[in-house]
Amino acid sequence: MTETAQMPNVQLNLVGLSKNDYRGAPTTLCAGCGHNSISNQIIAAAYELNVVPEDMIKLSGIGCSSKSPAYFLNRSFGFNSLHGRMPSVATGAMFGDHRMRALAVSGDGDTTNIGMGQFKHIMRRNVPMVYIIENNGVYGLTKGQFSATAEKGLRLKYQGLNPFTPVDVVEEAMASGATFVARSFAGDANQVKSLIKAALSHNGLAVLDIISPCVTFNNEDDSRHSYGWGREHREPLHDFTFVPREEEIQLTDFPEGTTTTVTLHDGAKVVLKKIDRDYDPTSRSAAIHLLESARDEEVLLTGLIYVDPDQPSLTDVAELSAQRPLNRLTETDLRPDKSMIDIANAMMF
């Protein structure tokens, strides 16, 4: 029941939709905000993956980043929830029709300050969802306070010096047993898009920590969340190629011995071509070691840091029907037969 674009000369994807069908309201964020480029890559990824917008839900908490679901996927159901509480809403929402794909957007304050508890628990439960943290180290809507990801020693205009150790979103994700963990940089549109596609193919909680500079409050070149720093210190872990399920991998494209291929839950593959480091993204200990050394080296390592495609998701554990989602069940399915009332009374004394 998809509504096809009727305009001539508009390019359509395999489900007959144009890129416009994936857009949202015009953004109200600042010009140049990293979040806008991430929104654009969400639109592009969904369009290119031929996702029907009605098959997706989008969620967020509160903050600049959390406003952004209004700016993509207008035809998807959305929930702009409470500050730091998006994970719980998403957890419950996934029970409605668990066949849908979920994509959530949060910020560093929403996730690592007010929302740290729920962030940890949604990973523990492996809720099948893409969880994007648009990470800029600073509060935007309340005008420039430090978030918990701001680096020690960062100096901001009205806040002075940050004396506290930062939270590393990716290390937190590893510690909590997340089954898909990646880091990227809003300035690297292609990588962001490929990682979103891979994350959407993952059956479990996929954490994307995307450094997304705040051009208004935290974009000095020496700030760890600025465009300047990102461009200067970015080190892609690998050349990342996402291959959808329906496409064959042309192995000849990749010289032998230089690539690692991971098959995701829905049959899609990611092909990781070695750049400098030998790296196995299916090893937890390698991931943790890598993160520690990247910190020592002061580099912004980007790419797929860890993936375990085989863990059951929350909705697997819940043993829901593959055919009939919970929210299509009717009274016949949900209300016990009349005779069962005798059983209820007999259970009492």
């Binding site: 009605e54 209004a70 929830s81 719980s88 957890t91 419950g92 029709d97 989602p325 919970l326 009492m348």
Partner: protein
Amino acid sequence: MATPQVQETQQQGTGGKAVVNDFSMTVATKNGSGSQTSNLTLLRALFKMGIPVSGKNLFPSNIQGLPTWYTIRLSKKGYLARRAEHEIVVAMNEDTFVEDLASVAPGGAFYYGDHLKFEITRTDISVYSFPAKKFAKESDAPATLRDYVANMAYVGVLVYMLDIDMAKIREALEYHFDGKQKPIAINMGVIEAAYEWTKANLTKTDPFRVEAMDETKDFIMADGNTAGALGSIFGGLQFMAWYPITPASSVAEGVSHNIAKFRDKEGQEGKTYGIVQAEDELAAIGMAVGAGWSGLRAMTSTSGPGISLMTEFVGMAAYAEIPVVIWDVQRVGPSTGLPTRTSQGDIISTYLLGHGDTKHILLLPGSASECFEFGWKSFDIAERMQTPVFVMSDLDLGMNTWMTKPFEYPNTPMDRGKLLWEEDLEKIADWQRYKDVDGDGIPYRTAPGNKHPRSAWFARGTGHNDNAKYSERSDDWERNMARLKKKFETAIEYMPKPEVQGDGAKIGIISYGSTDAAILEARDYLAENGIASDYLRLRAVPFTSEVKSFIDAHERIYVVEMNRDGQMHMILRLEYPEHTMKMISLAKHDGMPLTAKWVQEAVELQEK
């Protein structure tokens, strides 16, 4: 069975005559000693003898060691409220021995384990000691269970001394141990040994005993929390998230332990429900709201501290118009307060929970069977009204075992409210999420998974227009808030009506929840003293028209409740300011279930 000989005594108040089926007995033990099985066995056996009984567990916030009391009231007249007095006390705890001895009503009976070495200073009561530990030691109970079955000794003693039917004791144990013969045999062994010892060694000098009646066959015994859980299952619960808290945990556990039995059908592919134990109450309500948004019958259960944590989400759910059911099994607050004592202290804060202008629907169950009824009905109301619905139970109603009417199968089909699917949207050209099409304030909604290209909407706690788009416009805000007010007024027609008793008296009593038993009894005593009263038991807020009619029709209204400030009294005065002067608050907040005597005296004080 041998009937103990009642000896002629000159005891106060009884005139030497037997007192049958009309007294209270309290067992004093230590928490965690396994006395609950003994107490429930006595309670159930008496119930099966056809005698109206109620049992109340007065327990500390503790797992092991602190004093705990269980009080059973037998009432041939059918009174189920707690009495403050007890004629029989069984002392098993050295820490409270002295106060337990002092607490026996004059003319009463005091039983104690002979391992407790105390001087008996009272001469106005009958006193019996028995070898409390002997029978368990001599039984074939494994050493690890001996301390637990030891409490069956006082059951055996009381069976003989009160003339309780031993066959009913066995029936109670069969139920308790789900027919498992080994524990039944071990416990029965201790009871029978104690019985035989008592028969051979004790001479009864008090007048209290029991006699079979025929007053309980139309009832079951149930606690409100299990009843509410089962009602929710019959209501088609699809999602529950919860966080452990006394006294609400057994609502959620009642669901998770029983739902498969009622809802998993042979050959069915997949479950029809999801249950998550959340990391805290914020997450529990967040999950339930997420599930409600996605079109599920969603609920959570908690108590006052959890309600506090849920505040922000509840305000948002009311404003974004998301159905969800929240059980508040109230305990004494503020703060951690008295976590194992009962209260009706969350009424006003829950009614207005959230910042800005919020008002919520409160359902007020007055019995365990009404907990069952509101278990299913709350979902219908929440989905019809697209808003949070609170079921305001309390510790006494929720955790104690009550004689109650059997659960009745829902008498109305499920009401899913104004929920649109693809075929509905095909027929509607200009659906808007928050548009008041029907003039009742209730808009139409859709749920994720709906594949119609016009089905999606963006749920948000921020200001929005009819089309669920972000709006900071003053006119949008005012119009939406006015519609929500209208919706709350519409809710009145879906509220359970109050139960009204009596007709034509000058004074009226308004009460709600677990106070019911005390009010019913107190009205009899008041009538005996020449004060006729009518009684309205509230079953929901907002109030239906019957409430106003009742207030209109009486010269004075006593609002009886269990909190300090008279919270329902406040709401009634807000709703009916013209009647402020004639509504009098009678509020008690000692953490204990209300007694009829307190109600009677409080009214009489005013009426004199």
